[in-house]
Amino acid sequence: MSESVMGHKAFKAQLQKYYSFYTGGFILFLLALAVAEQMGMTRQWIGYCFLFATIGLYAGIGIMTRTTVAAEYYVAGRRVPAFFNGMATGADWMSAASFIGMAGTLYLSGFDGLAFVTGWTGGYVLVALFLAPYLRKFGQFTIPDFLGERYGGNIIRSIGIFAAILCSFTYVVAQIYGVGLITSRFTGLEFGVGVFVGLSGILVCSLLGGMRAVTWTQVAQYIILIIAYLTPVIWLSLKHTGNPIPQIAYGQVLQKVTEREKVLTNDPKEIEVRNIFKARAEAANENLKDPAAAYAKGKADSEKNLAALKAANAPADQVAAAEKAAASYPKDEAAAKSQWNREKGLAARAAPPRPHATPYPGKDEAAQDIARRNFLGIVFCMMFGTAALPHILMRYYTTPSVRQARQSVFWSLFFIFLLYFTAPSLAVLAKYDVYHFLVGSSFANLPVWAASWAKVDPGLLSITDINKDGIVQLAEIVLGTDIIVLATPEIAGLPYVVSGLVAAGGLAAALSTADGLLLTIANALSHDLYYKMIDPNATTARRVTVSKILLLVVAIVAAYVTSLKPGDILFLVGAAFSLAASSFFPALVLGVFWRRANKWGAIAGMCTGLAVCMYYMYTTYPFFGGVPANQWFNMNPISAGVFGLPIGLLTIVVVSLLTPAPSKQVQELVDHVRYPHLRGDIDTQAA
C-alpha cells in the first residue's frame, strides 16, 4: 500500500483519457464502416470487420497488460478505480443471455419475464449491504480464501472450490455457446470455427494478464456493448413515438399494444387460425390414445385416398398432393407417435395473445397464484444468486479501498441498469411493430426484416399461412427469443452496419462474462487447491504459471462440452444462480454478521444447502428424469434456491450453536473485516 493519493489520481486521469480516446475511436470506426457500406461493402465483410477488429482489440489490451506478478494477476494490483470497476463488473455480469435473450423473453412472457429484470438488478443491493465492503477489507484473492480463513481448515475451502467450479462451469458453457452462435450467424463461419475464434480472443486476454487484462478488456467491452444496445432502441423509439427516450416513451406504446391485443383476441380470422391449431392438437391427442390402430388407419386412409383419386382420373395437381401426403406419412409407429406428440404442443398456439402488462395470467385463481409464487421464486433466486456468484464478488477485491468498493457497487448497478432499464421498452416497441405492421400484411409483401430473417433462420422467425388467406395472422407467427435484439436495427430501418454493431455487442457481452468465469475456475484450482492446499511453498511465478496452464485446460474442456451442444442451456444458467445462492450466500454473510458462526456450522450448512438444491432439481427437472409431481409448493426446478438457501442458513445456525464457539483469532478477523480501519489491527491482505 505504498501508492500515494497522487499516484491513484494520476492513474485515474490517465484511464479517463485512454477510454475517452477509445470511445471516440470506436465511433469513428463505426462511421467509417457506415460510409464503406454506402460505397458498396458487402454484409459479410462488415461482419468480418467487426469480428476481427473487436477481437484484435481485446487481444491487444491483453498483450499490453500481461503480467506474472501474483497481485496483478489475481486482483489487478488492487488499483482499479470504483468507476472503472463498475464498468468491468457490468460487462462481467451481463452475459449473452442478458444482451440477446432478455428483450425476447420479455416479448414472449410479458410481465412474467420481468422477474429477471428485477432479480438481476436488485441482487446488487445485497452485494452492497452484505458483501462487497467486507470482502474488500479482507483483501485476499478468491472467495474460497475468505471461507478458508474465516472458518479455518481445508474442508470448507474444498467445498468452496467445488461450489465455485460447479456454478461457474455451467455458466461458461452457455457463454461459449453464445460466442459460437453470434460469430457463425454474422460471418457465415461454421459454429465450431466461431467457437474457436472467440475462444482465442478470451485466451490471449486472460492467459497473458489474468485479472488485470480481464479488467481493462471488460471496460472496453462494456463501452461497445452499451453503445450497441442503446443505439437501435433509441432509433426505434424515435420512429414510433417521436421521443428519443424509449424508457419514458413506451408507456403510450404499451397502451396501444394492449388495445391491439383485445382486437386480435376477438378477430374472426385469428380465431379461425387458433381453431385449426386446436383441432390438430385434439386429433393428435385422439391418435395417441391408441397409436397402433391410429397409425394403421391413417396409413390405409392416405393410400386409399391416392388410389381413389388415380382411379377417378382426378386433376394432376390433386394426385400429386395426395402422393406427397402418402409419401410423407410417418414410416413407422414410433415416428408417428413423435409427430403426434409435437402436434399435441400446438395447443399452446391455440391460445389468444398473452396480455403484455397483466401480471400472472392464468385460467383460474389457483393457476394465477402458482404463477405469482413462481415469479417471486425466480426473483429470490436471481437476487441471492447474484450476491453469491464468485466471479462477481471477486471483482470487489480489485478496488483500492473499502470506500471505493462501496462506491463501485453503485457504479456497477448503474452501468447494468442502463441496459436492464431499456430492455422492457425494447420488448414493447418490437411488439408494437409486429402487432401493427407484420400482422395484417400479405404473404406476398412481408416487411423486409421479417422476410429476410424468416429465410435466414426459421428457428428465429417462422410465418406459415395456416388458414390460406394470404394475410399474416398473429397466431401464424412463431418468434425465437433472440430475434428481438438481432432484428431491431432492421425493424427500425437502420443500415446493416448497426446490425454488425449489435452482433459485436453480443459478442462483447459473451466474451467478457466468459473471461471472468474462466478466471474464477482457474484461480480456484491454482490458488486455492494447488497453492493453499497442495504446495504452500510454491513461488509466485510458479503459481501464476500453473494458473495459466489450468486456464487453458479449463477453456478447452468448456469448448469441448459446448461443441456437444448440451440441451436447455438457459435452464443450466438459471440453475447456477440457485446453486450459488444455496451454497455461498449463508456462509459468506453469517461469516461477517454473526461472530458465533463456526467451522462445523459452515461445513454442514454449505453441504446441506447444495444438497437440497441439487436434490430438488434432480427430482423435478425432466432433463434429469424428474417429474413436476415431485415439486414442493408448485415451485419450478429453476427456483430450487428458495429451499436450499433457508435450509442452508438454518443448518449453519443450529450446528454452530451445538459446537464450540470459534477461536479468539477468528473473532478478531471478524472485527477486522467489519471496520475499514482499526488502529493496531491485524493485516489479512495478500500480496
Partner: protein
Amino acid sequence: MELTAKHQDYWHRNLVVTAVLLSIWFITTFVVAWYSRELNAISFIGFPLGFYMNAQGSLIIYVALIWYYQHYMNKLDIEYGVEEGEDE
C-alpha cells in the same frame, strides 16, 4: 485488539442503516410484486403502476439505495475515525 464503545456504536449504526435499506428493498421487490395485479389498476405516467414498478420503478429505487448506502457509510467512517488513510 479491544473494541471501544465508540467502535460498538459504529457497528450498531451500520446494522441499523443496513436493516432500514434492506426493508425498503424487500418492500420494493416482494411486496410490490405480490400486489402487482391490484397496483395495475392505477395509472402512472401512462403505465399501469404494477407493470411500471417491476419494469422500471424498482430499478431506480435499487440504484438509489446503493448510492445512499455508500454515501452514508463513507461519511460514518470519518465520523467514527475508522476511515482508511489517504485512500490507500
